[in-house]
Symmetry: C2
């Protein structure tokens, strides 16, 4: 039987290269877009890595595919399990379907219908649980005990982090001499993967994590040097409500240059700028890094800045602006 969090070491450069080869047949190499009017607004040269165009609409597909496809045959045959009501759930369900193995997703019974349907659409089996951390873990352990399924944590897992690192690996390979890369930070899988990729492949590029003020555990953990959780986090960037894990925190302490927070107003403004100027659909979490620039928490002036647009799964009926 596999234990949760068994993959608890920081990915090496070789792990990231191997992940790139593993996901290559399945994941999109997403485009890098530029936008002159946003450059003029910020004084920088901005390169947007568009994971909103990734399969399942988010970077999460990278880590899920890397995890599912790096399982040995015997383990793979027993299937995979995770707990998530977000993009990771869909990503694991689709990755498992592509490998032809069963996936069980533990979801709170309060999960929105659209998320449930999406997981089922990818062939995932859903186990509903009470909407608490304890219920979620208990149900996951039970699935593991019954089936021997491999647990794929949404972020605190070396295979997942190596998969997410492939996103930064692509933009660093495509856009030379980036001064900065900005990522949103929730559980820290994307951020730690990005930081490791930059460390290995472009050490001069500084990695900055952007976090909503209303869910600032990563900022507080980074400043205090102790892993702290968010209590009742609240933000429109609903992909970033999660707190860091032990592994992602350790990598972020070691390789991220700063963690900065963004106000809700700046997140909404950033979201709207991306829709209006770039003509693309992103989810609120993906707007947080650009919010840093709009709010002058960080200057792009004269710099080449990579910005990871992490996903595009948004409820279009609830966009945060009203008729004028």
């Amino acid at each position: 039987m596999s234990k949760p969090h068994s993959n608890d070491t920081s990915p090496s450069r070789v792990d990231i290269e191997r992940a790139a080869r593993t996901i290559e047949p399945f994941a999109h190499r997403t485009p890098v877009l530029t936008c002159r009017s946003l450059d003029e607004m910020t004084g920088g040269k901005l390169f947007f890595k568009c994971e909103n165009f990734q399969k399942v609409g988010a970077f999460k597909f990278r880590g899920a595919v890397n995890s599912v496809f790096s399982l040995p045959l015997s383990a793979a045959a027993r299937g995979v399990v995770t707990h998530s009501s977000g993009n990771h759930a869909q990503a694991v369900a689709l990755a498992a379907r592509l490998r032809g193995i069963p996936a069980t997703i533990v979801m709170p019974e309060t999960a929105p219908r659209v998320k449930i349907d999406a997981v089922r659409g990818y062939g995932g089996r859903i186990v509903f649980c009470a909407p608490t951390q304890a219920a979620r873990e208990e149900n996951t352990s039970q699935v593991i005990a019954e089936s021997g399924a491999e647990f794929i944590h949404p972020y605190n897992d070396s295979r997942v982090i190596a998969g997410q690192a492939t996103c930064a690996r692509e933009i660093l390979g495509e856009v030379p001499n980036l001064d900065l890369i900005l990522t949103p930070v929730g559980g820290g899988g994307l951020t730690s993967g990005t930081a490791l990729a930059a460390h290995y492949l472009s050490p001069r590029t500084r990695v900055i994590a952007a976090e909503p003020e209303g869910a600032d555990d990563a900022r507080r953990s980074f400043v205090s040097g102790r892993l702290l959780s968010s209590e009742n986090p609240k933000t429109i960037a609903d992909g970033l409500l999660t707190s860091l894990g032990e592994l992602t925190f350790a990598i972020i302490r070691g390789y991220v240059h700063d963690v900065l927070t963004v106000s809700e107003a700046a997140i909404v403004s950033a979201l709207r700028h991306v829709y209006e100027r770039m003509k693309i659909v992103i989810e609120p979490s993906a707007a947080v890094p650009f919010g840093l620039l709009l709010e002058n928490k960080l200057s792009a002036e004269g710099r080449r800045v990579g910005i990871i647009l992490s996903g595009g799964n948004v409820d279009l009926t609830r966009l945060p602006w009203r008729s004028s």
Copy 2:
């Protein structure tokens, strides 16, 4: 002094090639996107030409640049004038700024603030008029009389049509063996340019124009063989309220294979599918051709279908869906 509608002949193949060279330094070669889930939904292989990513957010920039940059020096020095409250207004203003000549835009005094600001942002001078066709023409004639400015009609002009034809020229050059190309039809500049490009460059490709049921002058004109206007057209696809002109009607009669109408419900559904599945922002007019497929007015089954997404300038506070 230039006369309105002086460029009243159908563009030749050479005109279109020349337009391609003229606009090349200024216009984006927009990407062609594909989307597996929309392919599965329609049974076809769909290729979306993304003019929502064009400068000023719409294909109109192509025709405006071709018109402005093909003026002889002496005429150019006197500037250009047009009447429009839509994408053509911004396109002409920016094209004129790029050439360093004055642009006057005659706009109804009822035009939305955001459109007025956009034209001024590109350096265009605005002349306001009463919101009637007569007032618009009278004011335009007066500008021409006073300044000698060259009139650039929004669609019924050979230079404009040759410019719009470069869009189909690009997709035909990039995607071989298209069975169909679908365009939205309003005044007919994009449709007639597309039809001519297909005629010259890929005669086997059928060109179908898609029109809102609520503004069906092109359909009625096409069927009856007489140029008919829309009376009080009404549709969410506000870029398609205009009626065909004499030149665009003649080209459409000669080279378009069919004109089909789309219901408002299908336009809204198509719009939402593009946002949700493709993660890009388009304006309602741009959704009309895909609406044809959703409504089964036309089958994509087993066919390779080019679809021109004509623009992305939409009021995000007025998207046609409500909170669920």
